[in-house]
């Protein structure tokens, strides 16, 4: 069978909504695109634990602390599901992690912003996880089987994240003058970076087009971003807060909200490593990896010893 024949079978499967599984033939570029996208997604979950971890010891109540711990633990689990999905494409866990640590692989730029107040934890849950969910719900129908399955699992767990975030802000929005200000301030700082999470405009995105043809992605960046704006613009009314965009306005003709232009210079700057926390985040990941070396070694040695003992018995 020639490569052309194999490619035809592959495209037919995509066309007929049949998932691609690890051992099926697939074009190199499809494999590479998936490795890049799924591993970036995994890195985002792992790096995403850092800004929130910042507040575990400072959560205002024991209840909030327990919730935040559970949420951060979920993110670790999500990272694992996604790393496992990446591995099915023929790259090892270690290679994937090395790519993160060397700076070759990217993760979502949103996590390069600092969490300055407790309200930021609310804003992250509501806006950042909210934006992530828009993407992830779409990805439950992605064409690569292991990725789609990981997404189903993640989406089930993620809705608690968004709800707890909104609830944090809701409590603040009904609190003292200072608490209200804190709530508004967090929304002001996270709104634009959250919009940037959907990536460049469709006309500029380098990966979107082919990814749509292969049904890795099913909605374009701009389409998802619009859905997100429409959702948040309504939800914020419940909080009695404002989104920091003077151009935000309901467009009766389009049945969508119009909104202002994103600061793309800031976006590309953060992607390229010049965000407020890029260096801090990567340093933290590298440190965790290096300082965990003895644990990995000890576990491997212990397992080996136990195997020998069992073999001897």
């Amino acid at each position: 069978m020639t490569v052309q024949d194999l490619e035809k079978i592959f495209l037919q499967k995509i066309e007929n909504e049949i998932k691609i599984e690890p051992r099926d033939w697939m074009p190199d570029a499809y494999r590479k695109t998936n490795i890049r996208q799924i591993s970036q997604h995994a890195h985002s979950e792992i790096v995403g634990m850092l800004p929130e971890g910042n507040w575990i010891t400072r959560a205002p109540t024991l209840k909030r602390k327990a919730i935040l711990l559970a949420k951060v633990q979920d993110e670790a689990g999500h990272g694992l599901y996604l790393y496992s999905a990446t591995e099915t494409l023929g790259i090892t866990r270690e290679e994937t992690i090395n790519d993160l640590h060397s700076g070759r692989a990217k993760y979502s730029s949103i996590f390069n912003y600092p969490t300055l107040t407790w309200a930021d934890i609310g804003a992250i849950g509501w806006l950042v996880d909210g934006a992530a969910i828009m993407n992830q719900v779409m990805l439950t129908r992605t064409s690569y089987g292991p990725y789609a399955r990981a997404m189903v699992r993640i989406c089930k767990e993620e809705s608690f994240h968004q709800r707890q975030g909104f609830e944090i802000l809701l409590v603040l929005s009904r609190g003292s003058k200072e608490q209200k200000e804190m709530c508004q301030d967090a929304i002001n700082r996270w709104w634009w970076p959250a919009l940037m999470m959907f990536g460049p405009h469709d006309k500029e995105s380098t990966h979107s087009d082919q990814s749509m043809k292969w049904k890795i992605k099913r909605k374009s960046n701009d389409e998802l971003r619009q859905n997100f704006v429409d959702m948040i613009a309504e939800q914020i009314k419940v909080l009695g807060m404002k989104l920091p965009d003077e151009h935000l306005q309901w467009n009766e003709e389009k049945k969508h909200y119009d909104f202002g232009e994103i600061n793309w210079e800031e976006f590309w700057n953060v992607v390229k490593g010049n965000g407020p926390c890029n260096k801090q985040r990567l340093d933290a990941r590298r440190k965790a990896w290096e300082e965990g070396e003895w644990v990995r070694e000890a576990a491997a040695t212990y397992a080996e010893k136990r195997n020998k003992r069992q073999a001897a018995a």
Binding site: T88, G90, I91, E95, R149
Partner: protein, 120 residues
Amino acid sequence: MNIQIKKYFYGDIPDDKSGGNIISKETKNDWPLWEIFIRSKQGLDHKHVGSLHAADAQMAIENARDVYTRRMEGVSIWVVQSKYIHATAPEEAGELFEPAEDKIYRHPTFYKLPDEVNQM
């Protein structure tokens, strides 16, 4: 059907036959991959839920508990090192599974019965 291009590896392909042009570098501290199966409640089968790396079976079970049963998803866990799972190849699928397609008389709906006895 003979497929020449193989460049994947998953748990079910022996190390020496992983083939292709993607070479995985294994270091001494790479923990093996384990497939995880969870029984969601008594009376149901264990079902495959995913995979993880662990140094040994004990650790695989402990990690599976933390990763896959945080919301009461399970009452029992099986772990199997991925390399011990054998599987059919995608290119054999036709030969293996297509013969069942034209044997519709194996399904109860094939038989048209009078209404009086159609609950059979």
